[in-house]
Each structure stands twice: as C-alpha cells, then as structure tokens.
C-alpha cells in the first residue's frame, strides 16, 4: 500500500493521478488551499478505493507553514512513498508586465513556494532514504517566450532546482521526477485559445505520470510529442525568435 502526499490536490492533473493510485488502495495526505474542494476530492478518492484520505488546507505561499504541514503528513502516513507537487497558477502575462506586485506573487506561487517546499521535503526524504518526489513543471520552462515568460521563468527555476536535487538525492535512493506537461484541458487553461489537436486530457497526462513514477524516469514530456515540439522551439535561431510571437 503506497503512502502518497499530494500538494495542489484539487488540480485536475493531480486528481487524475490520485484516482489511478486510489484504485490500488493507496493512502493519501492531500493539501490544497480550498477546504471545501479538498473535501470533494477526498470523498471521490475514498469511493474509488483509497484506504485512507487525510486533508490539510494550506495556501502554499505561506512558506513558514510548510514545515508543520509536512510534519502532519509524516505523522499521518508514516513514510512518504510518493510526493506529488502539483500546485500552481497560470499567470496573465500581460497583467504581470504592468504590475510588479502581481508578477512577484505569481513567481512565488509557481517558483518560490515549490523551491521552499522541496527544500524541506528533500531533507526529510534524505533521512528516510527512500521515496519519490514528482514535480509538475512545464514545457514553458524550456525557453522564455513572449506569451508567458513569467510563468516560464518560475518553471525553469523549478526544473533546474529539480535537476540538482535529483543528483543529490540519487545517492541516498530518493527518486526525483520532473514532469513537463504541454497544453492540458483543465479549469486552469479554460478560456485560452489553444490549438485543439495539441490539448491532452488530464487522464492521459496522469497515465504518463503514474508510469514515469513506476519506471523511475528522471524527466518526461507529456504527451511525449512535446519533446519534439520543444526541440523545434528551442532550436529557432534568436534573430527569428525575436521577430515572432510564440
């Protein structure tokens, strides 16, 4: 029976992963901002076979509160076999360009809060000498693009942080997995004019994530074809890149 911590548990991708683990009778400790929504997710997982579901309401921008949350998760689950870090927002790039406060707040939600959490979580898992950390980053972190470089910057920081963390924790048998989803059909992307053929369901992305955790992959694009798309985007020469609006 797996013991699973999920931060950002009300996100569509996290929910879809949790449902797959619930069918294997996993035990959960779920963290999200909104208590009401956490309750709805917890009931769903219980009905789908989860052995036990604990919830913990927390805004991840409250960095000082991370330690108490982790202590509570460990007290409740014992060991942490899988930790899925999935919280985040999709900032409005245009608004962030006009409002420094907003830009920093969004950077904190998507970057700093993840780094703060991973720092504390890593130290606990280093002691535990087992377990797996899965972090939802994004293809947006691969190259700063004019349409969403604030988000991309935060995700690039997370991706780089995870790469270093992976090499550090590898030595003690702790696995770190970076997930780079492309466009996913979730409430977060609702209303965006995304090319339909490139938008994946949260279920498909979750299938990739759950498999990657099992196979102890280092980093994946999901769906896999995003590796090709990002390779092209990264190889666009700068003189051209500067003249287009990606």
């Amino acid at each position: 029976m797996k013991n699973i911590l999920i931060v950002g548990a009300s996100s569509a991708i996290a929910t879809a992963c949790a449902r797959q683990w619930a069918s294997e009778r996993a035990r959960f400790f779920l963290v999200a901002r909104n208590e009401e929504k956490l309750g709805q997710v917890a009931d769903d997982l219980r009905a789908r076979g989860a052995s036990e579901v604990q919830t913990y309401a927390l805004d991840m921008n409250d960095l000082q509160a991370h330690e108490a949350m982790l202590a509570s998760a460990v007290a409740s689950l014992g060991s942490l076999d899988i930790s899925l870090i999935a919280h985040g927002t999709l900032p409005d790039q245009a608004a962030c360009q006009q409002d420094v406060e907003l830009a920093l707040r969004e950077f904190s939600s998507n970057g700093l809060s993840v780094i703060a959490l991973l720092t504390r979580l890593a130290n606990r898992l280093e002691q535990q000498r087992s377990g797996s950390i899965t972090v939802i980053s994004s293809v947006a972190g691969d190259r700063g693009r004019p349409s969403n470089y604030l988000y991309g910057t935060a995700k690039a920081a997370v991706t780089t942080f995870c790469e270093g963390l992976r090499a550090r924790l590898f030595k003690v048998g702790v696995h770190v997995l970076t997930i780079k989803p492309g466009f996913v059909d979730t409430p977060m992307t609702q209303g965006l004019p995304l090319p339909k053929a490139l938008v994946a369901t949260p279920e498909r992305v979750a299938g990739d994530i759950v498999r990657a955790v099992e196979k102890k992959k280092d980093s994946i694009y999901t769906p896999a074809f995003w590796a090709g798309i990002m390779l092209i985007i990264k190889s666009i020469p700068r003189p051209i890149f500067n003249r287009i609006n990606l």
């Binding site: 009401e36 219980r46 789908r48 076979g49």
Partner: protein, 438 residues
Amino acid sequence: MARHLASWGRYPYAPQELHPCAWRDELPPLLQRLAAKGTLPYGNGRSYGDSCLAASGELLQTRQLDRLLAADWEQGLVRAEAGVTLAELLAVAIPRGWFLPVTPGTKFVTLGGALANDVHGKNHHVRGTFGRHVRRFALLRSDQAAPLECSTAENPELFRASIGGLGLTGVIAWVELQLMPIASSRIDSVTVRFDSLGEFFSLSEEFDKTHEYTVAWIDCLARGHSAGRGVFSVGNHAREGALEVDGRPRLSVPLTPPVTLMNKLSLNLFNNAYFHLHKPGRHAAQGSYDPFFYPLDSILHWNRIYGRKGFQQYQCVIPEAAAESAMADILASIAASGSGSFLAVMKRCGDVPSPGLMSFPMPGVSLALDFPQHQRLESGLFGRLDQIVRAAGGRLYPAKDAHMSGDDFRAFYPAWQQVEALRDPALLSLFWKRVTQA
C-alpha cells in the same frame, strides 16, 4: 468562451456558448449568473437534436463535475456527480462486480443526461428505464439557494418530473444509483439471422423470456419478400469469468467530409454484406461487454460520416397491439424512400413502469434509425412516418428529435404540462421552446 458546438446529430445548427462548472460549490453562483439570460444544463452532448441546446445559446456544462461522492461497494449503491459518464462509472464498478442496471447504446453519456432523458437499453423488457434505478438525486434550481434532494419520499413531484424531464426542472448536481451485480464482465450471446418482420416478433417473444438483453438490427432497404429482414442479437451476463474493464483502442473519424458518406450505394453494400455475414441459424458466442453494448463507441466522432449537414435520428415506439402492422408500414415507407442508414435498431419494450412523467418507452416495439439531413426529409419521409406513428398510438423520443411538431409532442406526452409547471424559469431548451411555445 464561445465554441462551435452542435448536438450529436449536428442538426439543427445553433451557436452555443459553454459555461463549464468543475466544482459542486461553484454550481449555485454559476446558475445565478446565467439565470438572467437563461440557460440549460449540458453534459457530454450526446442528445441528437435540439433538446440539449439552450434557447438562450448559453449552456451550463456539467461534464467536469466528475467525482464520486460516496460508494457502498457491498450494496452496489453509488452517489456520483452529474458529469460522470457511464464509461467512467463502469471503470470503477466492473472490477468490484457491479454493472449499470440499464445502459443505452453509448457509454459516453453523463449520469445527469441519462436521468434527464430517462434512457433505456436492451434490457428494457426486464428492468425498465434508467430512472427506475435512481434512488435519489440533488437538484439545484435558480429559485432555491441550496440543492433539493429528490426521491420518491422527498420532493416526489420534482423527482418524477426530472426523470425524463430533459434537464428543465433544475440542474442535477449528483445522482444516487443502484447498480446491478454481475459475476463476469463477459456476455454470453446468441445471434440469429431472420428473414421477415414476423420472424422478429416470434424471436422476440421467445428470447425476451430467457435473455436479459435483446435487440435487432434491421436492413432498412430490404423490400418485397425480404422486407423486415435482419439480425437478432441477445445476451446474458456470463455466470463466471473475469471482471475486466474493456479499454480497447479506438478508431476515430478525423474530419467531417463535405457531404455524407452514407448514400444509397454505400448503404446497399453495407446492408447486404452485413446480412450475409451472418449465416442462417443460431450462433452462440462469448465476448466482452463493450462491443456487445457499445459497438459504435469504438469509432470516435462517428457522427461525422454524415457530413457537414449532419443527420437526424428517427426513433419511435409503437404500442404492442399495432406494432407489427405499423412497423411493416414504416419499413415499407423507408425502403421506398431509399434513404436511411446502416444503423437501424428494433427492440421490444416491456411493461416495467418508469417513475418519470415523460418517459419515452411504452410496452411495444421501438425502432431507431439515422437519416442524412436534407431539405425534404421533414416534409417528405418524416411526415409519412409521423402519420403512421400517430395513427398507431405511438410516440417519438425527444432525446433524438429535431423535427416533431408541437401538436404531436403534446399528444405523445400529456404530462408535459406538469413538467412545465415545475420547470425552472431560468432553464429552457430549443426543443422545449419549439414544442411547447411555438
């Protein structure tokens, strides 16, 4: 966000804007916000005609309400949000030995849609409609702050009006459904080729007593001595075997051709080939539940084969006494028109009553088939078929309909006024407007 959105038949075309709701606690404020202009709950868009399109063009989409609230796997009692599809419910129920007590021919409908259309399936003669297995549900109305729980004991009028109520009495938030135990997810089936309508009736008489599921494919083009020929297919859940969710890969129709691919030539070819694929006599087999119940679900977007103009399904039910002669007349009219489709389904309905006020099935025989949309469809063939159905005391199915007249609807469903009286004033479909207000 505006999306080009059509019903399953892609006819009639009426632009609709989708307003999705992903959380139960966000449902009341969203309904209040949409109430001023008027709206309609929309699940997964599998209704064929205009019953799932809002008169205002503003739809409240419930598909993302896809959570379970509670499940008692000892008793097979599940409470789930309205946007959960039958496929999603089967995926959690089958491994635990439970199955849908009633399932229509597609697993891509939502629980809310199944309730609002009081859908039926191949076991109507044994278990009646979907609504019969609904224990309770939560209904959110624009004139109430909190959802109302409805059952035969609580708010019984709303319970009866909402089952088959076409989503007009309120937005269904969740549904509590009694599932049916199964020993295996496999189906023991028998197929029998038959050469006439009379044979369909005697086969149905015989197999309805011994089999949970019975249905027939009809060759809608066959005329003269082979009129009414087809393939009868029946099944029971296997008594032993695996409990496996069928996750076979699916094909997809990738784009909509400019014109229908279903024409007289292709149809003739299809129907002849399919009929002769089945050797005379009775053939027993065992297979997975999925191709038995949901053959068309294996081809995503199959509705696209009818081209940009779309199609209409004609589904009627004729009471027992008049069934054989009326069905013969209907099949003769269709064969003479040379139109129709490969997908023609005939089914004996039983006398198990529905709790719903506007349920479609009645004891008798139901026929469903698709027609590529064209200008003369409604005035020509559909006009003749409507006359036969009317004279025989039958009725048409709102979930499939894009053409029935207001006079016909009000005669077919005399309880419509009770539903109208309980209708949420903020909810109105193009269908309801067409048949009650035009």
